[in-house]
C-alpha cells in the first residue's frame, strides 16, 4: 500500500467537460495568490497581536485538469510512466462526446491499481454496484453527486490520501 508524506502535495487529476466546474475545482484545490497574502498578513498579525492558530495542517494539492475521458487516461498513463502517479483522480461520469467517466475509470484502474478514483456526477445511468464491479476495489472507489462543495471534497480527498 502506498503511503503519502505529510509535506508532499497531493497530486490530483480532474476530468469534467464543464469549464465552470473545472474552474471551481481549481479554486477549491489550488493554492491561490490571495492565500499567500493572507499568510503574510497572518504573520504580521502574529507579531503585533496575540498568537492565533496556524493553518499548517491545511492540505496542498497539485491539480491537473482535463475535459475528456481519453485525456484523463493519457495523463494518468503519462504520470505513472514518469514515476509520479496521481494520488486521486476525479472523474465526471458524463463527458460527451468522448468516452464516459466510468469507461475512463475502468481503463485507469488497469494502469494504476492504487489510485483513488472519485466519480462525481449530476446523474448517472450506471448503478453503484456496476461501478464497483467495473472499477474495483470498492475501498478505492468513491462516488459523489453534484451539486457539492468542492472545498469539502478537497478535505475528503485529503482524508482519502491520508488514510491510505
Amino acid at each position: 500500500m502506498a503511503t503519502h508524506q505529510q509535506d508532499e502535495n497531493i497530486r490530483v487529476l480532474i476530468a469534467d467537460d464543464d469549464e465552470y466546474i473545472l474552474r471551481a475545482y481549481r479554486e477549491a484545490f489550488a493554492d491561490s495568490e490571495s492565500t499567500q497574502e493572507i499568510r503574510a498578513l497572518d504573520a504580521l498579525a502574529a507579531e503585533l497581536f496575540e498568537p492565533t492558530d496556524s493553518d499548517d495542517d491545511e492540505p496542498h494539492f497539485d491539480v491537473v485538469a482535463c475535459s475528456q475521458g481519453d485525456d484523463a487516461i493519457a495523463l494518468a498513463e503519462q504520470a505513472a510512466n514518469d514515476g509520479h502517479p496521481f494520488d486521486v483522480i476525479i472523474l465526471d461520469v458524463r463527458m460527451p462526446p468522448g468516452i464516459d467517466g466510468v469507461e475512463a475509470g475502468c481503463q485507469i484502474r488497469k494502469l494504476d491499481p492504487d489510485v483513488e478514483i472519485v466519480f462525481v456526477t449530476g446523474f448517472s445511468d450506471v448503478p453503484l454496484e456496476e461501478l464497483q464491479r467495473r472499477v474495483p476495489p470498492p475501498m478505492k472507489l468513491h462516488y459523489f453527486n453534484k451539486p457539492l462543495s468542492f472545498s469539502q471534497l478537497a478535505q475528503d480527498v485529503a482524508s482519502m490520501v491520508r488514510e491510505h
Binding site: 465552470y20 471551481a24 490571495s34 497574502e37 503585533l48 449530476g122 446523474f123 451539486p147 472545498s151
Partner: protein, 629 residues
Amino acid sequence: MSSKQTNRSLQNKISLRLALALAVFTIGVFLILRSVITPAFQELELEAAHSDLIRAQQAIRTDIDNLVAITLDWGPWDDMYEYVAGRNPGFVRSNLDRSTLSNLGLDMLVIYELGGRLKWAQLQVDGEERAVEELGLLGSDNPAAQLLTQHADATSSTVGIVDTAYGPMMISSQPILRNDSSGPVAGALIMAQFLNETRLERLQERTEVDMTWMLVEEYVIDGERELADIPVGELPVRISDGLVTNCVVLADILGNPYLLVSSRTPRVISGLGQQTVGAAMLFLVAAGVLTVVMLWYFMKGTIIGPIEALTGHMDKIRKSGDLSDKLNLASTDEIGLLAARYDKLNSEVHETRAALLQQSFKAGKADTAAEVLHNIRNAMTPMINGLERVAKAFKVTDGLHVKQAVEELSNPDVDPEKAKKFVQYLDASFDRIVAVHAEASDDLRVVSSQAHQVEGIMADQEKFTNVAPVSENLVVDEVIEEAAQVIPKDASAGIDVEVAEELANYRVRAHRIGLLQVLSNLILNAYESIERAKHGDGRISLSARSTVIDDTEMVQLTVRDNGTGFEEEVRNKVFQRGFTSKGVGDTKGLGLHWCANAVAGMGGRIFADSEGEGHGAEFHVLLPAAQGG
C-alpha cells in the same frame, strides 16, 4: 387501388367465371342432346316411316292374297269344270249373275276355256258394266294375256298387278280343275280388283297410313328419270320439312316396274324429339341458372360479404385508429376464423401499442428527467461553490484585527516603529478585503451565469411541454379501469368504486397517457378526500355522458366522491397553481393545476362542483368525442 374496387373485382371475377361455367354447361348440354337424342328420334322416325311403307305394301299384298283365295276357292270346282267343258250350260244361270261381282268384292270375273277362248266375262268400272275388251288386257297383243288365260297344269297360277285401260288392277288367274284339284286343266278363272280411289281410301283407313300410288311411267315423267333407272323394290327415302316419304316399286305380272306405292309419314316423332330436346334444354339451363344464382348468393353470403365486412372494418380502423374496435363476425367457417384471428391480433396490437406508448412515455420522461437533473446539477455546482466562496469572502474581516490596530494607533504612547507596522497591517488588511471582494464579484458573475444556464434548461423543457402529444380514439372504460388502479390495494376494500356500465359505449379523442394521468389524479384526490372525511363509507362513482358544446360532440367524464367536498368560493380556485385546500384534497396544489393544463392540451376542459364541505365533490372532464369510431 381501393379495397372497394378490389372487392368489386373479386365479385366480377366470380360472376364472370360462373357465367362462363353456365355458358359451357349450356353449350355442352345442347351438343349432347343434338348429337345423341335428336339422331335417336330421327332414327325412330325413319323406322316408323318405313314401317308405314311395309304396312301399305302388305295391305296390297293381303288384298291380292284374298283375291287368290277366292280364285282358288272357285277354280277347283266340278260345276265350273263341266261348264267350261260344255257339259253344264246351267252353270251361269245358277251361279253367275249381276250380284256375283259385288258379293265377292270383285271388279272383274272372267272364265276362259282351254285354248284361250273367252267363255264368260263380267267387268264393272265405277259401278257400270263394261266389256272386258275395253281393258286392253286380254287381247292377243298384250304379253300378259297368255299368262292369264292359259295354264299348263294344275299348279299353274298367275297373280299380281296388271295395267289396264282403267288403271292398275290386282289380278289372280287360276286353272279350272276338278273339286279335288285334279286335272286336266279345263280353262282359266280370272278374278280382279281395281286399285282405284275407293280401294285406296279403304286401304288408308285399314292401315292408317297416308299411302298413295302412281304408275312408274307417271313417276318417270314427273321426275324426269329414265325408266331403266327405276328398279323394283324400295327407293331411297325422301325427307322434307314435315314429311318422310318412303316408296316401293311393285312389278306387274311380267316382272316389269309398274306401280310406285308411297307412304307419307308426318315428322311427328322428330318434332316430338325437338320438343323433348327443347324441354330438356330449358330444364337443364334453368337448373344451371338456378345453381349458378344459388352458388353466387352462397359465395356472396359466405365469402364476398364477410370479406367486404372485414375490409370495411379495416378501413374503419385505418380512419379511426381505434384498434380496440372488434369486428365480431358471426361465422365459424374459415373466413370467420380469419376475422376472429384478425380481431385477436388487433386486440394484441392495441394492448402492445398502449403498453409501448406508456413505456416509451415513461422512458421518455425518465430520460428527460435524467438529462435535466444532470444539466441542472452541473450548473448548480459552480453556483454552490461560488456562493460558498462569496460567503467566505464576507467573513474575511472576522480574522482581521483592524479595530485593535486602529485603537493601538490612537494611543499617543505607541512606539513609532510599532505604529508603522500597525499602519502596514491596516494597509494589508484593506488590500485583503479589496481582493476578497474582487474574487467575490467574479464568483457572483459565475453564479449569475450558471443561474442563466438553469433558466435556459427550463426554457428548453418548456419548449418540450408545448409539443402536443399524439391523440387517439380511446374507449373510456378501459382508461378509467386502469386509472382506478391508483387506489391503494389495502384501502380499496373500504371504498366502493362504482364504474357505470355505459362507459364502454363512449370513446374520446385524447392522449392516452395524459388522460390516464388526469383520471388517476382525480381518483386519487377523491380517495384522499374520503380518507380525510373519515366516515367509513367511502364511495367513488365514475360515469360518462354525451353532450354538445359549440356544435362539437363531447364526452363528459365525471369522478364523484362522498369525501370532504368544498365551499362555493373555492370552486373557481381549485385548479389554480399552488392552490391547496384541505377540503379539495390536492395537498401539494400541483396535481389539479397540471390536470387542467393537460385536459386543455387535449382540446377539453375541466371543472369541479360541490354542495359544500362534507357533501363530497364532482370533477368533470370534457373531451372531444372520438370521430369515425
